[in-house]
Amino acid sequence: MTKELILIVDDSPTNLKLAKILLELEGYDVHTATDAEDVLELLSTIQPHLILMDLQLPGMDGLTLTREIKANPKYQNTIIVAVTAYAMKGDDQKAYAAGCDGYITKPIDINTLPKLLAEYLAKKREV
């Protein structure tokens, strides 16, 4: 079975590295990007099953990027999970409104994150 492909988008290199190691240990094929431009360029070559999207990005923000990706029929089945340091009101709704399939707040918990992503991916496989 081929590895499932996850794209992590985060402008903090440390957080990016952490998530990459963590998810690679879980057996995923992990790609990373630090801004929207990176993401859009990468998407021309790869088709991730899931995108872990930091909402606070320099330049185009994560919500706008999510909307843009979801607007493309090619990525309609790509799961996008929003990650944000914000825990302010309405942020989750904003994320869902933009087309995110899930929403988690920082700091990410290394024990629950893999489980959570596995659940999303399993759900998708059922569909």
């Binding site: 903090s12 190691i21 963590l22 302010m88 700091p107 024990n111």
Partner: protein, 662 residues
Amino acid sequence: MDSQFSYFFRLSAVLEAMPDALVIVDSHARIILVNKQTEKLFGYERTELLGEFIEQLMPVRFRDRHQQHRNNYLATPRTRPMGAGLELFGLNKDGTEFPIEISLSPLKTDEGLMVLAAVRDITDRKQLENQLRTKNDELETQNRRVQEANRLKSEFLANMSHELRTPLNGIIGFAELMHSGRVGPISDEHKEYLGDILSSSRHLLQLINDVLDLAKIEAGKLEFHPEKVEVKKLVYEIRDILRTLIAQKRINLEIKIDPKVEQIIIDPSKFKQILYNYVSNAIKFTPEAGHVYININQDGEEKFRIEVKDSGIGIHTEDFPRLFTEFQQLDTSRAKKFQGTGLGLALTKRLVEAQGGTVGVESIFGKGSTFYAILPQCTPLNESPAEKISHKNTIAASANVPTVLVIEDDLKDQAVIVKLLKNAGYAVEVANNGKEALHLGHERRFDALILDLLLPDMNGLDVLQSLRAKGPNKDTPTIVTTVVAEKAISVGFRIHDFFVKPVDPSELLSSLKRSGVNPDNAKSILVIDDNLSDLKLAKTMLDKLGYRVTCETSGASGLQAVKRQKPDAIVLDLLMPGMDGFEFLNRFRKTKISREIPVIIWTVNDLDDTDKANLQAAAVVQKGDGSNLALLVELQRYLPLNYSIDELTKKMGKISKNKKTE
């Protein structure tokens, strides 16, 4: 004669020594006596004043009315201040005015009734008053600035906390990764030290979260999401989180929950936060093998009490007030060894108060403490269908217009609000009490709620809590009205706005608009036509489609209406007496708003293409094509209602047929 002379001499010595200017005026308003102070105050020699009219000493603008005042006084002569409540001014010989205070006394003499006026210069006092007023204004401005600074501080803290969490994410994440052994084997010492890094950084995270919560409460941004909860489940979750600590200190934890409060409506995460803070505190200050009790009881009819009791070190009574204050830790030598943030209790207090509750503590030093929180209780409502409430109180409901549920028992207030809302273009439904409100509110979605807190059968906040807990009005914007200012109570309930009665109508409307409930959802159309039967036809058609229609019969009144109500579209006849459609357009185009409002010309004129182009109208529709469908089709293009042409024809069929038979 001698004695009379000496009497007069002494009297005039007294008069001269008086600190006030004294003036005696005879019944003809002539000055017959003044003292030295009078000369000084008004700048005249005595001889210049004696025999002159008293009006000479007052600014010209007061002179005309003075005779009237004098007559009034002479009608009821008694000692009293002159011109009570008015600002009085004297006029100096050099033309300058100065503020004065005058006391009047009647003097009965052989030559008739005279008046003694004691005049005091109050320039200094006025100056002081002005200074005081300026100072007050300054203080007010300053106070506003302080409040603003405080808000900015809270905002800064909130942002800062977010920023701090990002690097912590890395620290905790990598430490966990290594600690778990997932990236390779580590020695026991490494594991221990990584564990230390982890617990320190988790502690730091807790601090940051507490600061963030406090900042959010201060900035009014903390939200509460009450829902039906199983109290037992939440309490056991807290016990599980603290299990390690409890085990380490071999603490005996007893939990008692009153069956009456097994199910309540509350924000579960806030409930847990409160309980966690109390219980973790209790564990911290209780010696090994001590006792901690969690009791949750009903407290009167409408409240419940969370109580955490410990057999710890206790607190001195004089320290109680500092307990719930931010960044204050009891600094006794015994308490010092207990590490803490000084935020937990303060946060608990804020969380409880924001939900309309109170916190407190009872303690005997050396024997233990009891911390408690009393919160308003809402038991879930019986979910069986409520008995049918007759719907005669349904005033209007239309699919295209936002509907507001007015929950108000006072019939007068109810009538005022209903009229206001209907005039503004809302549809309104009314609930006369809490029961009706719950029935309507659980049955269908409203666009906004206007809620009186004082209802005959239940507390308005309980109604709100129940509507918020589940059902179609979970997040309906709500405006609260009440006779008492009790803003603090409702902070926790996601209330959009708060009005103390009597409610200012325009404030209420703009508040509704701010909450996104705009009657303009029903698009407003201004129809300008001098032909009354055409006007009537247009109104009937457009009303039927759910537009809000205003009619004007001339260009001039139409122009005013545009400014007044900024319609979403204008239907304009060209041929009108007075200001015709062309002139109207000329003037209208000069206004700023004209670019946003499409104008549809509705005319009997047969315009050629050049004319049409010159009009620069959104559309030109020929009047009198029978069905007038073209007008509706054009309007729909700009103010969509999503009717197909067939549906339009069907809807309008009846009206146009009637028109034809007329």
